[in-house]
Amino acid sequence: MKLKTALLGAACAFAFAPAAFAERGADGHVNVLYWQAPSTLNPYLSSGTKDVESASLVLEGLAGFNEKGEVVARLAESVPTVENGGVAADLTSITWKLKPGLLWSDGSPVTSADAKFTWEYCTHPEGGCAQAARYEGVSSIDTPDAETIVIHFSAPKPNPYMAFVGGTSPILQAAQFANCLGAAASTCTEQNFGPIGTGPFRVTEFKTNDTVSLEANPNYRDPAKPAFATMTVKGGGDAEAAARAVMETGEFDYAWNTQINPELQAAMAGGGKGTFLNGFGTLVERIEMNMTDPSSDLAEGERSTTAHPHPILSDIKVRTALSMAIDRQVLVDIGYGAAGRPTCNLVPAPDMFASDNTGCLTQDIEGAKKLLDEAGWVPGADGIREKDGRKLSVLYQTSTNPVRQDFQALIKGWWEEIGVATELKNIDASVFFGGDAGSPDTFQKFYSDVEMYANNFDGTDPEPYLAQYMCDKIPGPANQWQGENINRFCDPAYDALVKEMSATAEMGKRAELAKKMNDMLTKDSMVVVPLVDRGRLSAASTTLGGVVLNTWDTEMWNAQDWFRVK
């Protein structure tokens, strides 16, 4: 009996041996398609998410986020917390320890000096660093020895996992970027296009806005990974062509952001060559209500400012009625399919911050009509409601995008059913989101009654996101229309909650405050009308294993774990 078990055990061990001794580079080549091509591999000079994603194959931070939104260590030995003493009890400092023996892809050792240099690089006043917000509140960084990094904050920071955590804030090699500080950042093309990193891959060739050619990093800390010897990240085309390249022709193993309409999703998913992966993060498509008057009768500099409250939308009954008339499930079915779900929350995730708010999910046309009647808006001869000689009409603007135009058409139908005259407008995305103070069509200027777009927040903590709706963040001529409180919502009670949250460390209490603030903006005041919780939709080939879609970090976050399914 013993011999038999021993022989069986030996046979099993031999069967599993190949998997256990999987070699670096054994699985050959992997092809990835980012239809928005990466323009640079330096996330600090990036012009979009695609750059951060591609760079995350090469550059890493001390820690990152996993698919559940938890902080996991990458270059650090472990994640510092208040319990293990890594975070100071008064929340003004955090101490990270690097793993021993870490090497850059060129063989030189990784030291704490690299981390300090990266902070100096991104906070340089002339550098134009795109990720400067990750280092907000950092007053200084000490490097007592080569493996210890102590970050000091100017005020207690309940969420210290900002600097050096996640794909948007990796560590650069100080030796490589030494001459690239400040205004010299854009002269360092070689460095920006071929950063030396600690990630599973290193760059062999980069054709900007076209292709990144990578090979396995010989100095990667796990000798058995990555399973792929070479990788290509190609760019160009659109979401549909990208989905087709994975799901129908099998030319690519992974395609990022294949946002295609539900019928196409269904048609392609049946092919059997690939699967669609979807994951939900914090991206919410919403309608913002303008609390101020955008009328063109007012002078420039007076339009859409707090000096003139909105004549129609200042009434909460009207705002509520407009929200009640919308059938969010129909919007999801038509626009996003599996990649979206209806929501009433501005902050739909992480779970602990999601408020129990489902009141808006059922459409109620009759209820909306009743509310408008109660508010004094009486239907006129043409079906459009009137009050004191003014017609109930709204100008509804959004960016040029087929799904958004479909939404506009549907919502216009519902609003006209309840007697609201709706005029639709769409503006090219590069103008709408451009933030140009001279243009009347930016979403900050908000020269319309309602507008629709999507927004999200970086990382897992909604505090800076919710803080956007404070009274002093209202865009106006005084601050060149650079403000994030688009609705011009101003409530001292809300501001007080924001201040309270910035001083609260205990996670349970923070979650409670976040939920309260979310409710104040959505169901209590109807100033922000969330529509769809938009998830990420990407396509992966059935022959590619180990892929886990992560909406909290980059989609390439675990490329070292990918392998070819045999």
Partner: protein
């Protein structure tokens, strides 16, 4: 002839300067900002700093004069440095793209091979198909071949490339699987196998564009041939006892080619402009794709530089076409 050429060249200089100013004003005054592609998660103060670092906030005339200096002085110096290994340019600031924060000219240089290979080949293929079709259609006017040739030209003219391209992708890429749908720009042709691969990935874009080009040129060829076939010298040549082949391909063709050659020469700048739609559809990532990407991202230096280069090419090839016309046809003399 020489004085004509010199006069045209001298006139071209103020024309090009005016063109550069108009392009600059158009792109600059158009709404939109390079900050539009930066995600909304980046707060406004950081965006303002990024724009400051890009140099977007300088006054209009400063930026225009700086661009002129960079284009006509700094970039040629850099070109000489690259060719001959000298260091004349030193640290002078080059034209920097807003999207990639890297110099514009190396980007154009990187993109040129794909555009010339794919779009250039498509143009060549188009011409090679069009000429025989045009000649034979004119020779056998109203025959079945002529009717098919006309139909082919109508389809090539009327059906847009984004439609034919998509149809080809679905038929040849998805259903038949003969050709790849995405162009691999890193493919280096070193041996027979890689050459086959390169030809396979070029096949579809070349077919799509070749069809569109051939349609136009075949009609010009046909009408030019028809005009010449009715001339008296053709009757004389036949009376002299020359074979049909000699009459058509030696006498008539040479005279008919004159307008067609000039039209082909005028079409060459469009190769460099890249076929924007086809490049985007097949992922060829050449100059056309670079231009459209730069426009979307409000990348003013890139758009400005590319548009100005196209203007130079168009002016140059216009001049070449005119001179060629004069060279080929002794009856034309400019003064």
């Amino acid at each position: 002839m020489l004085t004509y050429t010199l006069r045209r060249l001298l006139l071209a200089i103020p024309t090009l300067l005016l063109i550069s100013l108009v392009i600059f004003l158009l792109v600059d005054l158009a709404p939109g900002s390079p900050a539009s592609e930066i995600p909304l998660t980046v707060p406004p103060e950081v965006r303002a700093k990024i724009l400051e670092a890009l140099g977007v906030n300088e006054p209009l005339h400063i930026r225009y004069l700086l661009w002129l200096k960079q284009f006509f002085y700094v970039e040629p110096l850099n070109g000489i440095d690259w060719l001959f290994g000298t260091d004349l340019a030193g640290d002078m600031q080059r034209i920097i793209s807003y999207q990639t924060r890297s110099p514009v000219f190396p980007l154009i240089g990187q993109r040129l091979p794909q555009t010339l290979t794919v779009i250039g080949t498509a143009y060549l293929v188009g011409v090679m198909i069009a000429l025989p079709i045009g000649i034979y259609s004119a020779y056998k006017q109203y025959s079945l071949f002529d009717q098919f040739g006309t139909m082919f030209a109508m389809i090539g003219f009327s059906v847009p490339t984004f439609f034919t391209g998509t149809v080809f992708i679905i038929v040849f890429g998805v259903w038949l699987g003969w050709f790849p749908t995405k162009y691999d720009t890193t493919l280096k042709v070193t041996d027979w196998a890689s050459l086959i691969k390169q030809l396979r990935q070029m096949a579809m874009p070349v077919m799509v564009l070749g069809l569109a080009n051939a349609a136009a040129i075949s009609r010009y060829m046909r009408s030019s041939m028809l005009e010449n076939m009715k001339q008296d010298y053709v009757r004389t040549a036949r009376a002299k006892g020359m074979s049909e082949r000699t009459v058509v391909l030696k006498h008539v063709l040479r005279n008919s080619m004159i307008p067609v050659v000039t039209i082909i020469a005028l079409g060459i700048p469009s190769i460099f402009g890249g076929a924007i739609i086809t490049e985007n559809l097949f992922g060829v990532n050449g100059i056309g794709a670079a231009l459209i990407g730069a426009i979307h991202g409000n990348d003013l230096p890139m758009v400005q530089t590319l548009a100005f280069i196209f203007a130079i090419l168009i002016v140059t090839f216009n001049l070449i076409a005119d001179v060629l016309y004069g060279l080929l046809d002794p009856r034309i003399r400019y003064d």
